[in-house]
Symmetry: C2
Amino acid sequence: MKLRYGIIGAGAIGGYYGGRLAQHGADIHFLYHSEYEQVKNNGLRVDSVNGDFHLTDMNVYAHSEDMPKCDVVIVALKTTQSDKVASLVKPLLKEGSHILLVQNGLGYEEELAKELPDYYIGGGLAFICSSRIAPGHILHADYGALTVAWYKSKKNEDVANQIKTDFEQAEVPYTTGDDLNFFRWRKLVWNIPYNGLAVALMATTEEIMKNPSTRQLAADMMKEVVTAARACGAMIKDSFIDRMLENTEKMKPYAPSMRLDFDNHRPMEIQAIYSNPIQIAKAAGVEMPKVEMLEQQLRFIESREIANSGK
Amino acid sequence: MKLRYGIIGAGAIGGYYGGRLAQHGADIHFLYHSEYEQVKNNGLRVDSVNGDFHLTDMNVYAHSEDMPKCDVVIVALKTTQSDKVASLVKPLLKEGSHILLVQNGLGYEEELAKELPDYYIGGGLAFICSSRIAPGHILHADYGALTVAWYKSKKNEDVANQIKTDFEQAEVPYTTGDDLNFFRWRKLVWNIPYNGLAVALMATTEEIMKNPSTRQLAADMMKEVVTAARACGAMIKDSFIDRMLENTEKMKPYAPSMRLDFDNHRPMEIQAIYSNPIQIAKAAGVEMPKVEMLEQQLRFIESREIANSGK
């Protein structure tokens, strides 16, 4: 079975995964916005810990209306653009299309399922250090695994299996599971403390972990997330908290994606990583006070950034 | 009854109140540290919204061992120096001496009462905008009231009444009460949110109140403080929260004392305003998660400051 893929949002994440698939012969169609001319003329360069490559002669488009119907649409836009996803994806859809949201946060598959009830929708969790260092030029610095689960476990088995095969042939470590809710919450155990604290305290993961007060704060927030996750049916073990703390201590000093967004004056994914989980936890009867305080601080910082950029 | 006063810590607060008492003829003896030579030679200048004055020919000392025995010892050191208070005060004490701690935070009267069980100990709460703008030169910009209550209500009535008379003659609005614990907690309702957030977010009270997220955060923290206060026997009403929020909105943009300390690379009163209240609330069975998170962030900021200043 040969699948046709569309990539909506071919930035640091979508460009890397789409690029790997294209490099290994998959049928890939990329939507570009500001980088369109650059990539059309000069292709896509990826400097990767797993081997550099340079793609030319790619299928690139400036408008999703010009793209062909696809079996699989990979959406790797930031969640700050999630209000555009349905309209960007629609022109690519045909009967049986699978849409894979490779994004942070919580709640977007459910939202999109309401707008596009006739298609399969999945969540992709990228464990990757990747950044765009110039137009049409991505630096893949570390990791790279992708975990995929389908919303309400609905999928076409043959298509889902073929996606897995295609990624594996493209040398991407690819894990699947049934419980999207579990994977989304589990990723938040790391994302919630470190993304926001890296901005609120202007600190790296290393600085946060070296100070006993903020190490404890990270642990406290993880505990709040795990408690909320369980109330929402995601049965994460306590030992996962210790594992995340230890892994983070062993990591190289790392600026989480929200910190990169902040430093580069891009919108932060506050809604996806904080506001949605807080709201979903509240609906399940659980408060996350320290997580909520971080959200409140980030909203303040965000509004000051917007005010300053207007000067 | 003529009282003799000693002032330990004649900075923005102690210098103002001691200065007002001296201006109106009280018998006042000032301990100075770095400002000793300046004040000895040139006196104390106070620029005040209630009228400027310049004191010369003051009783100033460089060492508390050289000071006379006093009926009333007013301690207006920052709580970051509280480990020095007992030894600084001791040389001034005689039978029946009253020691008045004009300081922020919680727990210091109890601590001092353990060290000096034979004397009367009181807490003074200064509602004043006052700052030292140069050696021997204080700017009193706004407010000025002093509220005093005695630890476990123990006091000599005649002395306590005379102190009140002396302050009133010095044109300082002076309120008394029986419940020191209540006054200390009530002041924390304001001090806890604004002092720490002004540092953690590098914001003025006005900026905190104008943003709906941080206005809510300030209200959330006040609610935590009031809940803890009640568990500790200080029956603060809910309406006090609304009053504090409204008053703060009406205030001129204001940098709380912790922000001034931070900006001037002085130690912050984290122990007095955060750690002690958190610990006392916990002993009474109440958690203050957002207050605790602010403490954790401030400890991080403090340790980074110390590390940076060592460079």
